[in-house]
């Protein structure tokens, strides 16, 4: 069986990283995996966890502002 790529892309939106992490945990806990698959999944999970933590710790709020009504339509 071909080994699946163990590392997720470096930048993922938080929601995706988080849900993939949850999935990895569930699959690893449900058992029935070969040692090979288990190790691979573990690595992927830990990497995703690291990414999630990084995103949570380093995020800065971005704020933009539309132009005021009634100047309105120009700034969509």
């Amino acid at each position: 069986m071909p080994r699946k790529p163990a590392s997720p892309p470096a930048e993922l939106p938080f929601e995706e990283a988080y849900s993939r992490l949850e999935l990895a945990v569930q699959r690893l806990e449900s058992g029935g995996l070969s040692l090979d698959e288990a190790l691979s999944l573990y690595q992927e999970g830990m990497q995703l966890a690291g990414l999630c933590t990084h995103l949570l710790d380093n995020a800065e709020l971005r704020v933009t502002q539309l132009s005021a009504f009634p100047d309105g339509d120009a700034a969509v």
Binding site: P13, F14, E15, Y18, L21, E22, A24, V25, L28, E29, G31, L33, L35, A38, L39, Y42, G45, M46, A49, C52, T53, L55, L56, D57, A59, E60, L61, R62, V63, T64, Q65, L66, S67, A68, F69, P70, G72, D73, A75, V76
Partner: protein
């Protein structure tokens, strides 16, 4: 007859009025006229109806009731009725002014709420689920004021991973309702907004009135993007709150509802890491156990070499033992036979004193006297050797006499000697 001064009479009137329970604390409803504001900030006006009128004074104070006061307004005023001594005039000192219009607004609110509810705008089933991890949130509120600042603070604290897009608008007055409606429209035209917050701080029913307007209600209802409302204080509920997909009692709470808390998320990720480690350890543990179990089963199935080797050794040893026993048995049997044979050894007989007589020429053993005719050459073998002899002349009387007195009693175990092999087997048995 008593004559009073004007001052005394006016003072007397004032006392009478001020001691009256009703006049000391009452509400009057009427229309404002002759309104003027003195430089001091105090307001002087008249409250009148079709029949009569009363002068009023509203002293400058923190209530802010003078703000919207003007001629023609229908008002309810609260205060006490007394006499302004100097002018000798009836006067009400007003402390609270309530526009009579409040009642009208409340009626309008009920009317609209009933109408829109009937149309299904408040329907629970229609309310959308909020995205768990929004990426971009649209905020409809005033760009000035505390609300926008508070929302930014809450989001920064809880979940700064989002981008906030402010759609600025007036939130009270005539421009508010169309402004909110337009802001919602513009946010819905974009394809990158996950969630909208409509927010406004606390205020009176009039201040909040835009959020009770029909056009705002319909704009929220029509929004493709889910809307959280955060209008006024906890006790204020506007029609916008009823229509929205979720309501926050205040703008700050609305912002909290909009996003997850990153502290909780951090804890959850840590927990996930622990679970990953645990699950991996379990998997490896299971694999190890499985391997051990297989090894044991394998061991139980195949005949182990060592055991077989040991069995071979055992068998060899047993075999050797048997052979040894056999050999010993044979040896014993032979020894036995040898000793049995030995019993026939003529040497024993000779040792007892018997002699073996043989003919000197032929070597034939002499058993009869006629074999040893006088003069015959004989060989006599005794225990310790042999010597030749000549048979002597015949003995008178003829019959030889066996020398019985010298005979030793034959050993009980030994057979009679010298006997040939024809000894009966019974005697051999005795030996055994």
């Amino acid at each position: 007859m008593q004559v009073f001064s004007v001052g005394q009479v006016v003072r007397y009137l004032k006392d009478v009025l001020e001691y009256d329970a009703i006049l000391a604390d009452l509400w009057i409803g009427g229309e404002v006229s002759n309104f003027s504001r003195a430089r001091s900030g105090h307001c002087y006006f008249v409250v009148k109806d079709a029949v009569s009128q009363i002068n009023c004074v509203l002293f400058r104070g923190p209530g802010g009731y003078d703000r919207d006061l003007g001629n023609g307004q229908a008002v309810l005023v609260h205060g006490k009725v007394s006499v302004y001594e100097t002018r000798g005039e009836l006067q009400m000192v007003v402390d609270v002014v309530q526009p009579e219009g409040v009642g009208a607004l409340a009626l309008e609110f009920e009317r609209l709420k009933t109408k829109l509810e009937a149309e299904g705008l408040f329907e629970l089933g229609r309310k959308r689920r909020l995205p768990l991890f929004p990426q971009r949130i649209g905020v409809v509120t005033s760009p000035t004021g505390a609300v926008w600042h508070d929302i930014q603070q809450v989001i920064t604290r809880r979940y700064p991973l989002v981008e906030l897009v402010l759609a600025p608008t007036a939130v009270q007055g005539e421009q508010a309702a169309p402004g909110v409606e337009d802001a919602l429209r513009r946010l819905n035209l974009r394809d990158d907004i996950d969630l909208i917050i409509v927010a406004r701080g606390g205020g009176s029913l009039e201040d909040l009135w835009a959020f009770n307007e029909e056009r705002v209600a319909r704009a929220i209802f029509a929004s493709r993007i889910p809307v959280i409302s955060g209008v006024g204080h906890e006790t204020d509920t506007t029609i916008a709150d009823w229509v929205a997909d979720r309501r926050g009692p205040t703008p700050s709470v609305a912002a909290e509802i909009a996003v997850p808390d990153r502290q909780e998320l951090r804890s959850h990720v840590l927990l996930d890491q622990r679970r990953l480690k645990g699950a991996l350890a379990d998997t490896m543990g299971r694999a190890r156990t499985s391997l051990d179990s297989l090894r044991m089963r394998l061991g139980a199935l195949a005949p182990p070499i060592d055991r077989e080797r040991q069995r071979v050794d055992d068998q060899t040893r047993l075999l050797t033992l048997h052979l040894q026993r056999l050999l010993d048995a044979r040896r014993n049997a032979i020894a036995l036979r040898v000793s049995q044979l030995d019993a026939f050894n003529p040497q024993h007989t000779l040792a007892r004193g018997y002699a073996l007589v043989q003919r000197g020429d032929t070597g034939t053993v002499v058993t009869r006297p006629d074999q040893a005719a006088p003069g015959a050459a004989l060989m006599i073998t005794v225990a310790d050797g042999a010597f030749p002899a000549l048979s002597g002349p015949p003995i008178a009387g003829g019959a030889p006499v066996p020398p019985q007195q010298n005979a030793e009693p034959p050993r009980p175990a030994a057979p009679k000697a010298p006997r040939k092999r024809k000894e009966p087997p019974q005697e051999q048995m005795q030996l055994l």
